[in-house]
Symmetry: C2
Subunit: 215 residues, 2 copies
């Protein structure tokens, strides 16, 4: 599969790009916002395109053309205000969903947030962030794409363990290394059992492959 990674320069995105690049099954196209980011990637032999989630949808459609899947792992980040949350995490995400549809890309994996589906469990301090993720997910579910929504718990920078706990509605809270989130996204890409499904993800004791098959 040729995979467009949206947010390729982000902390999860970098893992996803690396894993796709070293995979035998996939090739990667990294979508980034800045010229210098694209240059860095090209130096490493990675196909890179420049497109801005706050800009015109056409450039995203162009980036998606010729790909077979889109992975969305962009985020406005903690440094910007709630206006950027609306523009990037919600409207930007939906532009990529529409772009996938318009470019004829059928497969879409969204990196969301633990329990973004469930208002009762939103962190009060960043409630606006959950609203943005919630509606981006719902717009994806209303699309015609073969989507998978991965909702990880607290994101850690420590190395991945390859062992996770996956559930459509996780009762417990937990954390997970970004590397394992990336591995789950990449493993989910060809896994038809995850099509039109959404799940919470934290660290656990089962392999990623087994967890996705038993979803």
């Amino acid at each position: 599969m040729k995979v467009l990674v949206v947010g390729a320069n982000g902390q999860i995105g970098q893992h996803v790009v690396k894993q796709l690049q070293s995979s035998d099954e996939h090739t990667v196209r990294a979508m980034v916002r800045k010229e210098e980011q694209a240059e860095e990637l090209k130096k490493k032999g990675i196909d890179a395109v420049i497109a801005n989630l706050e800009g015109n949808k056409k450039s995203i459609v162009k980036a998606a053309k010729g790909c077979e899947a889109v992975v969305f792992t962009a985020g406005s980040g903690g440094k910007t205000g709630p206006d950027k949350t609306l523009l990037v995490d919600l409207d930007g995400a939906v532009k990529t969903i529409e772009a996938a549809e318009e470019a004829g890309v059928d497969r879409y994996v969204m990196v969301s947030a633990l329990q973004a589906n469930n208002r009762e469990n939103w962190n009060e301090k960043i409630r606006h962030y959950y609203v943005a993720k919630h509606y981006a997910d719902r717009m994806l579910q209303a699309s015609n794409l073969n989507y998978t929504i991965v909702r990880p718990g607290g994101l850690l920078n420590e190395p991945g363990t390859g062992k996770v706990n996956i559930s459509e509605n996780m009762e417990e809270r937990g954390a997970v290394p970004r590397q394992d989130v990336a591995s789950t996204v990449v493993a989910a890409l060809p896994e038809e059992n995850t099509y039109k499904r959404a799940f919470d993800l934290i660290s656990g004791d089962k392999t990623i492959a087994e967890s996705l098959k038993n979803l």
Copy 2:
């Protein structure tokens, strides 16, 4: 029709409540956020309920029970930040859509904003507001309700003229008195020609009734 007005204390909401209250066809239930607002309304003989768009959906479902229509004309207002835009104008609005469905209310009229459907025409300075309105509207369109989405241009406080220009995709920009927005909402309520439709609204030269029939 018994109509729940969400945002009954707002500038358009007050007009809607007044018009429904003096109508022979309708009765009104005003939904407000504060106890003192409810007391004020009750003194005028208006049925009022307290529910918070940022709170639990259950209180909104309770408010909607026994009504035959919901009018949404709440807004976080210009004084609050984009975080409230997400929480009130988007998530709050969608809670009322879900509440209508859960309470068995079939008819829903949304007050949106001119060209909220069209990213190309969003005011750059309040782009986050358009994002919130856009997705609230799209969630309503994805619901099973008999909805009407009214997208007024610049809102004026001068008295209404009763003459408007209505179009599913308005090429021109324009303004409209809040009183005329309210009159259009009230006139649309029983007008089946407006079910599952969305339109822009500015001042014009045709009567509201005629404009809605010719939509």
